[in-house]
Symmetry: C2
Subunit: 420 residues, 2 copies
Amino acid sequence: MEILIVHHAGQLLTLAGGPQRGQALGDLGLIEQGAVVIQGAQILAVGRSTDLLKAYPQAERFDAHGKIVMPGFVDPHTHLVWAGDRADEFTLRLEGKTYMEILAMGGGILSTVRATRAASIEELVSQTRPRAREAFRHGTTTMEVKTGYGLTLESEIKQLQAILALNREGPMELVPTFLGAHAVPPEYQGRTEAYVDLLCKEMLPGIHDWWYHEVPDQRLPFVDVFCERGAFDLAQSRRILEAAQGLGFPLKIHADEFENLGGAALAAELGAASADHLVKTSPDDIRALASSQTVAVSLPGTPFGLNEAEYTPAQAILQAGGTLALATDINPGTSWCESMQFILALACRKMRLTPAQAIAAATINAAAALQRQDTLGSIEPGKQADLLILDVNHYQHLGYRFGTNLVSHVIKQGRIYPVN
Amino acid sequence: MEILIVHHAGQLLTLAGGPQRGQALGDLGLIEQGAVVIQGAQILAVGRSTDLLKAYPQAERFDAHGKIVMPGFVDPHTHLVWAGDRADEFTLRLEGKTYMEILAMGGGILSTVRATRAASIEELVSQTRPRAREAFRHGTTTMEVKTGYGLTLESEIKQLQAILALNREGPMELVPTFLGAHAVPPEYQGRTEAYVDLLCKEMLPGIHDWWYHEVPDQRLPFVDVFCERGAFDLAQSRRILEAAQGLGFPLKIHADEFENLGGAALAAELGAASADHLVKTSPDDIRALASSQTVAVSLPGTPFGLNEAEYTPAQAILQAGGTLALATDINPGTSWCESMQFILALACRKMRLTPAQAIAAATINAAAALQRQDTLGSIEPGKQADLLILDVNHYQHLGYRFGTNLVSHVIKQGRIYPVN
């Protein structure tokens, strides 16, 4: 198989050594004048340029010109697949309309549900493709994608089909999550328990069977619940997640975005891969998370998008020894942002992460939030060859600069894509 | 001369009718299914696609495919020309160091002055070129650029030379400003009055003579002063600006970024083109600005970059009848952001501008802040053909979405550049 050496990396950020807990966050495993040897889609060797150029004299060479080479970003929380948009609603909010008024006008999440239900798989794919491309151009090489704008078995499967279709297209790699418990659908308004029954008794088993019939060779999707007032309370969230766990699904949870209902501790108790949002998380729940394997995923694009002042208490999570990751939460209502780079810039300012901490939270720790830390998120022999080249001289420019794209090349599974 | 027709604009935002004062801000002059006819570098006709395609059957056609066509952004406040960077300082601040501690370590603006003084014109040009390119790719077709990292006649002229050289290269059009009064240089520490003497008696006349010798056919640069505690007080600012005005320079001022010293009212009194920053501006000064021709330029990237809570009181400026513009303030210390699109997204959230208001503030009103409203900032017959094509279906996506680049093509002086 063809061997490629990416050499002359002024700073090679390996992120080697696995997910980074608590105050250990920010170990970049930096090699100056580094190189990465790639065979096919995998990393074969990592080290200093001079050594590796000698060891692999026949390899095809790609000169990083003294720039930064780092792992591709992993975006572990997105709602990438939707139809339509909610730009009007954004302007209405600026003009002073409240969320409840907009909801009463037919806006909010249910307007996206309407549009997504009405769309064909092909329409969903063609509307989502430019967003996946944009994220890839900004350095995201793997991204989680949730369903949750269908809220019927059939339309949720349609979203999964769109995710699988886009994943087959590549180069972006998509990791699916079933979020049938995103909201109570219009036909179940006032009957949340009945919808939870439907989820547990029909939709989850239905998704499970469909998946094993459709893509038996692929890991089951995550199952996620929006545990929040107005969506699903703690008891309902537990029912849904336990039903999912009984079927073998790995778990995630949306917790504490607007209120603390105890979702983070539930995630820790059930061994969920991650608990996400975590704005109103209590000190007890932070401790529960920190003493578990559950990754705390912060989504700073959402308070920014909504112009709210409060962000994830990242410093408290680190002090407690938690594993912190970052994600875009890209969605049409609160945070239409494909760029993990911008999320890093926000995290540095709003949660006082250093650029090194933000980078680790967006790579190896984000891979852990998807239970993919064995194959993704760092530059180590045997791992998938997902790399970025940043057109800057120091990694600190991630965070320091904002609003633009510092990535010049994305390498996905060993293949080089110039993107900027 | 070759005639080009940009047709099939789903929304053509003309911004016709001149700068927009007060609550009138936000009139986009929107034409659905619009077209623009361009002859050479100038706009020849504006109207509906069907009419103009008939009227100019021989014109070369460029299909906007139902997307948005609008004037290029004008960025009326930048410090684009500098050497080095201050990424280290960003991390030090996140780790808890204060600005004064960083200054004592040799950081802050004076580290940029050191690097800029040490750089050749060629180095300044080559370090600045990627920033100009990035701004252009994000839709800025004209940008003001200040000196102010030299602080000697010779090194300030070197910055002007870099600006002129980049302007000759194109396609970005640069409008120069002399900001010798950006800071008190190290060799004048504790002797601000002596530096003001130097500015008034030697540097301003020196710049004036050099300019008329070097580029007699070009308009004089603006002269700007940083009127702030620790820089130049109100009396010193007045001395400098009056000396500049006596030599025929048009004026600008940095006012009220951290404290209110009265700079905005001074700008209004002297008929400055703009007063910029305006975070701590008093109600009296807002009224003084509003009753003058001076444009109020808000720079929301700076509080965002510094993670400060307070932004320009834009609503009060509009209520008073002021002319509001937006700019990036791109600089290596507080706001390294080339993208006017991101500034619009910030302005919507932090200052409650609607997307339409933000667009007007970043085009026709920004052109007024550079006294270029007769040739730039709108799509009207006779104006320069500086246009953007945005790859979205509704202009509201500017503001609604953040962190990425929605521009697909920039048309500068009639020439089409695909950028994304």
